[in-house]
Symmetry: C2
Subunit: 349 residues, 2 copies
């Protein structure tokens, strides 16, 4: 609890008490309450003086004259950065089974969002991992019927893409075999952004068979490979915001819940998070700090997880500013670890 701040030890104690009390009750906290809540034996009058100072410094404010004080964004920020007790020890202990392992990534992520919401009583989101530096592991074209070919592409992390390609004329069996061979020998192990249009053009020449069909099919393959992994976002507990009066007036509720339904804004949030420096740590956005304007009256806490082979995704919690940051960060860390572990060759299994 280093103090290179301008704040005296005593002010810090009082500020911490104010914030903790406010987190618990949601009510502005007054000087009398603090005399009981802290163990410095001071009268309410003294506390009042300190509070006046803290207000001048911008850490707390009064919703109206003659009400207690509420933490400002700056106050919360200080709290999260320096004042909060982090109970690190517990993290490792409870690292067991919130999630069931299943082979469908989608299911796991859905469940993750749910678990998170159930554990915290806030709104939660989990993004599917994206990675353009992913590598191609296997590719195969098969003839479904006279006019259709199905292309199946397996990427690292066992992400499977596929698509039906409509072809005018039938492709001979030998040609198909040749194509498959060619594609696999050339492309396997390459990362997706290495597979450029130029490369495909060269492939077309090498293909030897100069039929139009082959060209068409190769174009289609290129297209499939580059189709944006449209990031999925799973959400849960959006209606938890109704539990917090400061967010549940019609206006706010509508905005926030819309954001959860439309998901575009959440996607922006994810992008932002992944881009940020401190990736793989935990990020806390308080009020206006949030990259998404809709959530300017909320706090957003996010973490990045990694499903092997550099596929990163984000898990996040959105709630009121008076959020139980400790608990949220702990839960998020736990889940982050589980996700990190679940698809990586985990020593335990």
């Amino acid at each position: 609890m280093a103090v290179d701040t301008a704040l005296s030890e005593r002010k810090l104690i009082i500020l911490k008490a104010i914030i903790q009390n406010y987190l618990e009750t949601g009510e502005p906290v007054g000087s009398r309450t603090l005399t009981k809540y802290t163990n410095l034996n001071l009268s309410s009058a003294t506390i009042r003086n300190e509070m006046a100072d803290l207000e001048d410094l911008g850490y707390i404010f009064q919703p109206h004259t003659s009400a207690g004080r509420i933490p400002s964004d700056k106050g919360y920020r200080l709290y999260v950065d320096m004042l909060m007790d982090e109970k690190e020890q517990e993290i490792t202990e409870r690292e067991n089974g919130l999630l069931e392992k299943t082979d469908k990534v989608e299911k796991v992520l859905r469940q993750a969002a749910k678990v998170l919401a159930a554990n915290t009583n806030y709104a939660t989101m989990v993004s599917s991992p994206v990675n353009n530096r992913n590598t191609l592991k296997f590719i195969q074209l098969s003839q479904v019927d006279a006019e259709q070919i199905v292309a199946v592409i397996v990427l690292g992390g066992n992400v499977i893409k596929n698509k039906i390609i409509e072809v005018g004329e039938t492709l001979s069996n030998e040609n198909l075999l040749k194509l498959n061979m060619l594609l696999n020998t050339t492309l396997n192990g390459m990362s997706i952004d290495q597979i450029t249009l130029g490369l495909i053009a060269r492939l077309k020449e090498q293909a030897g068979i100069h039929s139009e069909v082959v060209g068409h099919v190769l174009d289609a393959v290129a297209e499939i490979i580059h189709i944006e992994d449209d990031m999925e976002i799973y959400t849960s507990g959006a209606t938890n915001i109704f539990k917090y009066p400061e967010l549940s007036d019609k206006q706010s509720a509508q905005e926030i819940i819309s954001a959860f339904e439309e998901k575009q804004q959440l996607a922006d949030l994810v992008t932002e998070t992944l881009a940020s420096e401190n990736s793989h740590g935990i990020q806390v956005y308080i009020g206006d700090e949030t990259p998404v304007k809709t959530m300017k009256d909320c706090s957003v806490v996010t973490a990045t997880y990694e499903l092997g082979e550099g596929m990163k995704g984000t898990i996040g919690i959105i709630g009121p500013k008076r959020m139980d940051y400790e608990h949220v960060m702990r839960t998020l860390k736990t889940l982050q670890n589980e996700l990190d572990a679940i698809y990586n060759k985990d020593p335990k299994e």
Copy 2:
């Protein structure tokens, strides 16, 4: 406007006026208002007498003594069944392009939900089509690497399922070829529910190669085929309910929006709709009639669409009971037609 009801012509006119006025204003409607709103030249006193009768018969009621009348569920029902003017003519006219055609069914459906919400100001849902009587069109196993096989299954309507199968030992190339041959010759053209476990067991014997791997792989294949087509449900405009005071108190709003987030209840609704007799017509559930209890204070209007080859899905609108049924039903019909047309070989293109 046949009258085999016990209601006199005049009572019907008054009831209709009450309902239409209430749909417009959302306020209980009183006798004086009706003297102006209708063109039967009657005094408010006479109207009051008629209203008293209508109330006795259960078509309208007062939210409290000394308020105007509001339609009951029974009243709405009568309105929808007999009183409403249906402007059929317009339907055909505007049957153009609310939706952009794209090859991703998912995108179209997402968009459909959005368009519907934008056009009606209610909450909307669109289910992806499901069909267990779908037939298997093509199946292929391919070796991805030493320990993984990818199984690709193409169903009618070009629905593609796939999964990675983990195998302990490598399957020889010839065996794989044999298996593929066997699977395709036996299963192609069969409907999914014809492919029973017994059939797979027999296949195992025929497989000839009695290695464990083959058995394992076949089991996996059976599993994939039978994995429930998890019906996707796309929603839009859930927050529109905030526009209707009767649904936007915290309690109701939370319940309804949760239903939209969790989607399980919507899925039940879809199942119900598809099962019902009058499929491919339009169904109107008023209040308690709704199969989903959460929506007992709403009206739900649904329609079934068909994406070729018997793949049926549902589109639906959820709003307050005082919903603009005419407009909703018209919009729903339009969209239903568009969806029906968009993937069926449409003569126009």
